[in-house]
Symmetry: C2
Subunit: 351 residues, 2 copies
Amino acid sequence: ILSKRIVVLPGDGIGPEVCAEAVRVLKAVSDRFGHEFQFDYQLLGACAIDATGAPLPEATLTACRRADAVLLGAIGDPKYDNDPTAPVRPEQGLLGLRKELGLYANIRPITAYDQLLAHSPLRPERIQGTDILIFRELTGGIYFGEKGRSEDRASAYDHCTYHRDEILRIAHRAFRAAETRRHQLTLVDKANVLETSRLWRETVQGLAPEYPSVALDFLYVDNAAMQIILNPRQFDVMLTENMFGDILSDEASVIAGSLGLLPSASIGDAAALFEPIHGSFPQAKGQGLANPIATILSTALLLDHFGLLIEAECVRDAVQHALNSGVVTPELNPATRYTTEQVGSFITYAV
Amino acid sequence: ILSKRIVVLPGDGIGPEVCAEAVRVLKAVSDRFGHEFQFDYQLLGACAIDATGAPLPEATLTACRRADAVLLGAIGDPKYDNDPTAPVRPEQGLLGLRKELGLYANIRPITAYDQLLAHSPLRPERIQGTDILIFRELTGGIYFGEKGRSEDRASAYDHCTYHRDEILRIAHRAFRAAETRRHQLTLVDKANVLETSRLWRETVQGLAPEYPSVALDFLYVDNAAMQIILNPRQFDVMLTENMFGDILSDEASVIAGSLGLLPSASIGDAAALFEPIHGSFPQAKGQGLANPIATILSTALLLDHFGLLIEAECVRDAVQHALNSGVVTPELNPATRYTTEQVGSFITYAV
Ligand SMILES: CC(C)[C@H](C(=O)O)[C@@H](O)C(=O)O
Ligand SMILES: CC(C)[C@H](C(=O)O)[C@@H](O)C(=O)O
């Protein structure tokens, strides 16, 4: 029997709906396997600004620090989206949480599901069998460097910095993941232009002898942006810095045919957060249209993180069963009328 | 009768081969229309390092400054590629040339050719009719900011800066291009995270009233990386900063089905350079496999730049004729055996 505290941050838009289904799945898992999961709901994002004035309230941060894991829905609201220069914005909550919890490794599996090949904008024969694990550094680089304006506000700057230690800790994780997979690690950088990229390259290269079973290669980010589309099967584990990872992991998501399928884990040495990669999709809010699968698969990553590998497989099998049975939300099959809750129920009962 | 001086920088790998065909096409154009084009060959890249020790020799820079236009093949050699930390590298020649000539606007048309839809990794029905013009800022941002290491070399930094004037000059060009096209301009940025992006957004927004016929919209770069693949037809003119433009324009190139088709123009207030977007592809060097079309289409952009719009159309028509006739290099049709030179000849005679 495992006893764990999970903070749930439903967030904005469709976040609460998809989180509700994911929590049902986690409850089904704990019932079936006799674990004790305690759920503690907290505010983050636009809903937190509305309620408290701050995108990341102190209470949320404290609860997350004490938790064994955090499950996040999505954040963002159109009333803030239209003005990225507003002083208080929902994204600050997410960025602040990543930094405060030290969630330096964002891990995104990209899988082409056979049942959904028809949904991808890419030709099925190019993507069938794709299975990529992207490691994106999440608490450094240009996201968190000094930024500002000149006095006359006519110049702006953003500083990108990396320290070797920031690279080492995520690189070790990426190498270890490659050891359990197809033994291939691709570092994506822009070492022909950026000094930070050259530091990434030399640091990761320096680790390679510790992982003799892993073949390490390097790809410039512009080329990677092509190769992910031209031939995604060539990749096993990809490792990259924060900004490149933001772009490439969203780009790679098109392979799966729907953003609604893709989970992510953000891991630190003392904390872990799990969230779908999709946004808060405010247009769909409250209509039962949101696909809960990305969030449900994020709970599988959460269970993996707890060491509950069999439980995690159960969740993945239940999701496969829903896909095989065509129990999916309308964006995956306009002919079906299954709601968020119906898909969630089906998966919950299949666990 | 127009008299123009064109500096040709064949560069490395397949560069000399594709340049040779492009120069033949330009000669055919000048013969047919009675212009006088003088060609001045200079060194850039690995060949320049080998010959002079410098990737951008003084003589090359002087010749380019005096020229009416520069035609570039490609630069890069594997002996430098394997070590992006080497003190002297071919890319420095290209980056130096862009900076010295003030080539701040890199313009890349992305077109889905009907004859080549079968070549794209994307489903034909998604991309048919795609016609995007990407404006990438080319002399600012993180490429040219201060960069370096801490004293113990364990930290590295790259500074990204933009001044409003750097944004204005390329934004005006992008707006003007949109006026002659489908009247839509999309600014791609990361304004929810970067201060430089917020400056881009407010500066470009500030210009919008001067171009009332153009609809301006904004897209975050991670979303743009998805949308370009999911629905490329939604875009007309795209505008972005240097690093994002590097990634997105290479990504968008997959739409065309081959890198070998895509030209680019790099424009400044006093100079202009034209080059294929592909690299030096050293493996193919000297084998007649290189597709000369991207470089030939770059000469069409060069002719446009000289105001020779009819001549430019002639070149494009001749290229279409080659595509329609199946006179293409093997990467576009493994069943044909046309060489670089044969494709170049066909297009030259068709001009
Ligand atoms: C909301 C935004 C700040 C965030 C990021 O860029 O990291 C998002 O795009 C993501 O990838 O989680
Ligand atoms: C060679 C390299 C420095 C260059 C760049 O990044 O600008 C290239 O990728 C390009 O896009 O022309």
